[in-house]
């Protein structure tokens, strides 16, 4: 390792070497320090949206709260992953997501881990917490981009374009495999694959012969 490519950072009091371009999350995981994540996946471009992986960094006397999955490590950086402030933020994020989607197992398990007993908000009935993994997997891994975010703000949703069954979808099922909430489902009905993004059928059909692009 060349000298200029190597940096020293301190995570939770432990001194670690980091390569240029490595994120704080990657360095922490190498060091065996667990940082909870929801929208992060090794195979995908970091998205930095769930904000569960926040950590406190200090550089030159300035303390900041950053998402560790998208923030590159810097030489001399001091990172703390488990302060009161960070714990409060993570608890609130899980509380907010659980209020939105009360039924999702991964959120419930984080809630147990963080000791969340009460949700002080009116409960919703959503089944997707918008981690965006399916969207990124479909465009980055499959190279198809059959689904994307639609609308904005709290109304944001994942849909095929215009909410219409997409002719781009090849029915590979990557989105359903990667979905941490198990919201996207793949069914085997009458010897063909049907994929559902919530109630929307997203797999495409040939407009001429009307058969599905994806076989059994």
């Amino acid at each position: 390792m060349k000298r200029e490519d190597s940096m020293r950072i301190t995570i939770d009091g432990r001194r670690r070497r980091a390569e240029r371009g490595q994120t704080i999350l990657e360095v922490a995981r190498e060091a065996g320090i667990e940082i909870p994540t929801l929208c992060y996946h090794e195979a995908l471009t970091p998205w930095g949206a769930c904000r569960l992986c926040v950590v406190e960094t200090s550089m030159g006397g300035r303390t900041r709260i950053v998402a560790s999955c998208v923030t590159p490590a810097e030489d001399g950086m001091v990172v703390r992953t488990d302060t009161d402030r960070i714990r409060d933020i993570r608890k609130m994020i899980i509380t907010l997501l659980l209020a939105r989607c009360p039924g999702i197992e991964i959120l419930k398990s984080y809630a147990r881990q963080f000791g969340i007993k009460r949700i002080p908000f009116e409960k919703g009935s959503e089944d997707c917490f918008l981690c965006g993994m399916c969207v990124r997997a479909c465009s980055e891994i499959v190279g198809v981009g059959a689904i994307d975010f639609a609308y904005r703000g709290v109304k944001t949703d994942v849909e095929p374009p215009f909410g219409v069954t997409s002719s781009a979808c090849i029915g590979c099922g990557t989105c359903t495999t990667i979905c941490p909430a198990r919201t996207l489902t793949l069914e085997k009905v009458f010897a063909r694959r049907t994929m559902h993004c919530k109630k929307e059928e997203i797999v495409g059909r040939c407009t001429i012969c009307e058969s599905y692009y994806s076989g059994v």
Binding site: C50, R51, L52, I89, A99, P120, F149, R152, T156
Partner: protein, 617 residues
């Protein structure tokens, strides 16, 4: 006698008048108020009186005095008239242009007595203003590049291209200590330098951020409408300093006049060889395109703005990489706000030291504010950094509307904070505002009087930001919705014990953990009102009382029988027929029908004593 004769035979005896120019403001407010028709009427009247050769009528740059629109100035007299109606045209020509007398009733502002002709700069609204960005106020036709050039326009560019190296331009901006006027206040010179030194790619871009979306703010809009060449020249100078080959102006589609004028200005500059290949005979080439935004507030955030220019959906992405390293299409990009760009030409022309001599220790130069809300003189103002809120509200703004008591000033747009009246002597600069829990923002300044409910204000801004949130990150998307729900509950009188604390905890998480600037500043209205007006929140939650009598669920309208004269005005005003009673007898208000619109309260004022016959409990 002589004048009388003139009236009778205007065509025969041509009046001897000194040559004058009537500048009619062509900003949005004045156009709305009929400045176009005024211009036509003046021209026709002058033609009729054979004065067209001596008296010119010209569309002028926005005066910023929107409160009295339409506004016109008569030069060289320096007299400004406001609220000018078509019926005043004849009067102005006869009395002022021909007779040399000032029409006192049309003068702005109307309050101070005008003993004689005074220069424009000494009128109350204008006296404390220092014009750098709005240097051409009222002086040029925004659609004429010749006008701009005649007023030192493009001189800075000529100076830079012929005498200065790009690094020297950056040094000059650094010496001026110019900071980003979009709100965050990042040093502009440093930003340019980082972008210039970036090695990511040879191709570099610059962007003018004109995605102004704050409710009640119209600085960028007005600048583009009234002096588009100032922005174009600033951008060319920036491109020269940074080494950029192309620039983009990102304007909202809902600003039609701004769009038309900036497009026109770019075309005119291209015709003059100020844009395109080999600018002013040098080997520096640069061009500008205009990109129309669809009006999403979040697209004012630089990474979302770039995504939008690239044709993607306007969602911010995490930084780093910063735009100076990886911006548009992965190339180094420098983004500055409209006002920042407009500051550049005077800095290059007059020098950074001159600029740095204005303002406070850490905030140099001037700042444009749109002064709105419950203030007498609403409009666009430019003051040196460090001017106190008192000077802005009372000296320039003329005080609170109807001489009510000032309660708070909201600065920095929806993600700014509310500064209480007790801090009225606060000098306005980046540091002081942020110490007070607000931000400079792009320059919205909303004055609030004692009839304003601070909880309701916080709810208004949180609701706005909730609707404008892109929905990408959890704290902003979910957190703002929950904050708005709690605020809804509080103003509806359904606030519970613990709501204030929960709101505070949520606000802190949204501020700390959000992905972009929208989320990180969104809780400011709540946090600042909680800091200064916590008692109002407590009154709403624990005593179900709205001290400012704004929150409908928490007020009751009733008739005070001793004071009611039975005039029946309220009976006629009530849209739901909740008030009844025979004439000359105290009326009766049926609470079960009352929708609390306040119409009765508004109309009951035939007499000072009986003014509160129907009052709010």
């Amino acid at each position: 006698m002589i004048r009388k004769a003139k009236h009778k035979t205007p065509r025969k005896t041509k009046a001897k008048v000194a040559s004058k120019t009537i500048n009619i403001c062509h900003g949005t407010s004045c156009i709305e108020a009929g400045s176009g028709q005024l211009e036509v009427a003046f021209e026709a009247a002058l033609r009729h009186k054979s004065l067209s050769a001596d008296v010119k009528v010209r569309p002028g740059r926005c005066m910023g005095y929107c409160h009295v629109a339409p506004v016109l100035t008569i030069e060289p007299d320096g007299v400004t008239y406001g609220n000018v109606k078509l019926s005043d045209v004849e009067r102005i020509i006869d009395k002022h242009v021909i007779g040399g007398k000032i029409l006192k009733d049309l003068l702005v502002p109307a309050e101070p007595a005008y003993p004689s002709l005074q220069p424009l700069s000494r009128a109350g609204f204008f006296e404390k203003q220092v014009l750098i960005v709005m240097r051409n106020r009222g002086r040029i036709d925004p659609e004429s590049i010749e006008d701009y050039i005649a007023n030192d326009g493009y001189q800075a560019l000529a100076k830079a291209v012929s005498e200065m190296e790009p690094e020297q331009v950056i040094d000059e901006v650094k010496r001026a200590d110019l900071r980003g006027r979009g709100g965050a206040g990042f040093p502009t010179g440093l930003k340019w330098e980082i972008c210039r030194r970036s090695k990511t790619s040879e191709t570099k871009y610059i962007v003018c951020n004109a995605d102004e979306g704050d409710p009640g703010a119209f600085m960028d809009r007005s600048l583009l409408e009234s002096d588009p060449h100032a922005v174009v020249e600033g951008m060319i100078l920036g491109a020269y300093a940074i080494g950029a080959s192309h620039g983009f102006v990102y304007v909202r589609e809902e600003y039609p006049i701004a769009l038309e004028r900036i497009v026109g200005a770019i075309e005119a500059a291209r015709d003059y060889g100020l844009l395109g290949e080999g600018i002013l005979g040098s080997d520096f080439s640069f061009d500008i395109s205009v990109v129309r935004g669809a009006g999403a507030f979040v697209c004012g955030e630089e990474t979302a703005l770039m995504a939008s220019i690239e044709g993607k959906d306007g969602r911010p992405r995490p930084r780093p990489p910063f735009p100076a390293e990886r911006g548009l299409w992965g190339c180094p990009t420098n983004i500055n706000n409209v006002e920042t760009w407009a500051n550049v030409p005077p800095i290059i022309l007059k020098g950074g030291e001159w600029y740095a001599s204005i303002g406070t220790a850490k905030s140099k130069g001037t700042k444009v504010f749109s002064l709105v809300g419950k203030v007498k003189n609403t409009g666009l103002i430019e003051v040196p950094m460090g001017t106190t809120l008192r000077e802005i509200i009372y000296d320039i703004g003329g005080g609170v509307l109807r001489d009510r008591k000032l309660k708070a000033v909201q600065t920095g747009g929806p993600s700014g904070g509310c500064i209480p009246a007790s801090l009225i002597d606060l000098p306005v600069d980046y540091e002081e505002l942020s110490k007070a829990g607000s931000i400079m923002g792009s320059g919205g300044l909303i004055v609030m009087d004692e009839d304003t409910c601070m909880v309701d204000v916080a709810r208004y801004f949180v609701r706005f930001l909730e609707e404008e949130s892109c929905g990408k990150c959890t704290p902003c998307r979910e957190g703002l919705t929950r904050m708005r729900q709690i605020l809804d509950r509080i103003v509806e009188g359904k606030g519970k014990k613990g709501d204030i604390e929960l709101l505070e905890a949520l606000a802190k998480v949204v501020k700390d953990a959000s992905l972009c600037g929208l989320g990180a500043t969104a809780p400011n209205p709540v946090l600042s009102t909680l800091k200064y007006f916590r008692d109002e929140y407590e009154a709403h939650v624990y005593r179900k009382r709205c001290p400012a009598k704004v929150c409908k669920a928490l007020i009751v309208y009733r008739v005070i029988p001793e004071k009611c004269t039975g005039c029946q005005r309220c009976v006629r005003a009530c849209p739901v027929g909740a008030i009844s009673g025979p004439r000359a007898q105290p009326h009766n208000l049926d609470q079960s029908l009352c929708i609390k619109c306040g119409a009765c309260y508004e109309v009951c004022k035939f007499d000072a004593i009986a003014g509160d016959a129907i009052y709010v409990e």
